[in-house]
């Protein structure tokens, strides 16, 4: 347990993502422990998602997760680029619908409220990372169209075209099993656990602008909140 933390400290301070760790024999010697002890420490780090083990090749620092900073709510594009990854988003569907009871209960909006429903697939380093379903209230962004959200941040469109300033978002993170569509698009097995990230987004006047529910690969993101430096 403590050995794994010391290795984590070493990785945090001296290694980059994707970098190979020294051979296990050398690591065991430098920490002055048995090979078995080292191996179980590395197992722990693999479980925590800190390293990846490749059979007969070696151990590597795991790719860094996209970091959502709750004190600086931004577009997902900014978060992905923030960890040095290449960003891409593909618009799958764009439609105008009226919301049903389920949304009514979840989001305190009356049944029949008109929204633009935008479904997009998000990539980091050309690997699909999230299936996102965003619902923008029609009355807040009347006339929003496909062009506005194609390869663009919804938030910057809302800001530039509709003069809406996003202020905060109430969010929830749970785990669900991937359905058929999600597993196909995210290239995982059906029923594999995935993160469900949902939220309701308010503007600076406290009005609901958008609500979203996104399905995200579990190992691709993390959330951080800092109340001191």
């Amino acid at each position: 347990m403590f050995l794994s933390r010391e290795i984590e400290y070493l990785i945090e301070n001296e290694y980059r993502e994707g970098q190979a760790l020294p051979p296990e024999r050398d690591m065991a010697a430098s920490f002055d422990v048995q090979r078995d002890t080292l191996r179980s420490a590395l197992d722990l780090l693999e479980q925590k998602g800190i390293i990846l083990k490749r059979e007969r090749i070696g151990n590597f620092v795991a790719p860094s997760r996209v970091r959502f900073d709750l004190n600086k709510y931004r577009s997902t594009k900014r978060y992905i680029e923030g960890v040095g990854k290449k960003h891409k988003v593909i618009l799958l569907t764009f439609e105008k619908i009226s919301i049903d009871r389920r949304h009514d209960e979840d989001y305190l909006l009356p049944e029949g409220t008109l929204v633009y429903r935008i479904m997009r697939l998000r990539y980091a380093n050309d690997i699909p990372m999230a299936l996102e379903r965003s619902h923008v209230l029609c009355e807040m962004a009347s006339g929003l169209n496909e062009e506005d959200v194609h390869k663009k941040s919804i938030y910057s469109t809302l800001k530039n075209k509709f003069n809406i300033t996003i202020a905060n978002s109430k969010q929830k993170v749970t785990v669900i099993k991937a359905n058929g569509l999600e597993s196909e698009l995210l290239k995982i097995e059906r029923d594999e656990p995935v993160m469900r990230y949902e939220g309701i987004v308010y503007d600076s006047k406290g009005r609901i602008v958008e609500f979203f529910d996104n399905t995200i690969l579990m190992d691709s993101v993390e959330f951080v909140s800092q109340s001191f430096v």
Binding site: E6, G49, L70
Partner: protein, 244 residues
């Protein structure tokens, strides 16, 4: 004031000032009678009055305890008073009672990782407390907590099965009030899965946080592995940077 009211007031003061913590066992009637130099019946009356007022409770054969707070919604200790906590863990049912099983505890020396997290010298001892947290007697989380032991006098002797760590820390004026937190979902944490009685390979929340007290000192570093089927995480994200 009658004699027993006087004793009642004295014990209540000791509860309020944190000499006795919620969940902690009080001395027996006999010992307290001796301590306050009163008749044992007087202590019994004082206990009766405190029980009636909900400050203490008696358990047959185990003694008299300071009553624990009744949590409405669980926050595994995370949701602290000043509301500046960021990420909050909520369990899915109400009226939950938290209990703990201590897996291990003791002093750790010379961990670079922990001294870095706690911002203390490598030679300063760290008290480690590893617990399984139960909600209504079902395991919910495995928590590995580390605190600088120099802040606390008798931490090694404390019974953290019954006493809340935060109540204990608060009694030294070292309650964490601000948190830096990190939340991830992980797959496969074998040892934790065992403690939590879930299948190996099931997803878990991994929640890591560092707590700072009112004097701007780091008082806690915790890694928590939390069941996804019992718990959900909520938070508010804000576009404004709200660091103080």
């Amino acid at each position: 004031m009658t004699k027993y009211r006087e004793i009642e007031k004295k014990i209540l003061e000791e509860i309020k000032n944190g000499h006795y913590l919620p969940g902690e066992t009080l001395e027996s009637e006999r010992i307290l009678a001796k301590k306050y130099e009163v008749n044992r019946m007087t202590v019994k009356h004082a206990f009766d009055a405190l029980t009636e007022k909900g400050y203490i409770e008696r358990s047959h054969g185990k003694g008299t305890f300071v009553k624990k707070k009744n949590f409405e919604k669980l926050d595994l200790d995370f949701d602290k008073e000043d509301g500046n906590t960021g990420i909050t863990a909520l369990v899915e049912w109400h009226g939950i009672m938290i209990s703990n099983k201590v897996l291990s505890k003791g002093i750790v020396n010379g961990s670079r990782y922990l001294s870095d997290k706690l911002r203390i010298g490598l030679d300063e001892p760290v008290f480690a407390l590893h617990r399984v947290r139960y909600g209504n007697e079902e395991p919910i989380a495995v928590e590995y907590t580390y605190v600088p032991s120099s802040y606390f006098g008798n931490i090694g002797e404390m019974d953290f099965k019954n006493v809340s760590l935060y109540d204990y820390m608060a009694s030294f004026g070292k309650l964490p009030k601000k948190f830096n937190q990190k939340l991830r979902l992980i797959e496969n944490a074998e040892k934790e899965a065992e403690h939590l009685k879930i299948k190996k390979g099931s997803p878990l929340y991994y929640f890591e946080f560092i707590g700072m007290d009112g004097d701007m000192e780091i008082v806690e570093y915790t890694e928590s592995y939390i069941r996804c089927d019992k718990c959900e995480f909520r938070f508010t994200a804000t576009t404004k940077k709200s660091l103080v």
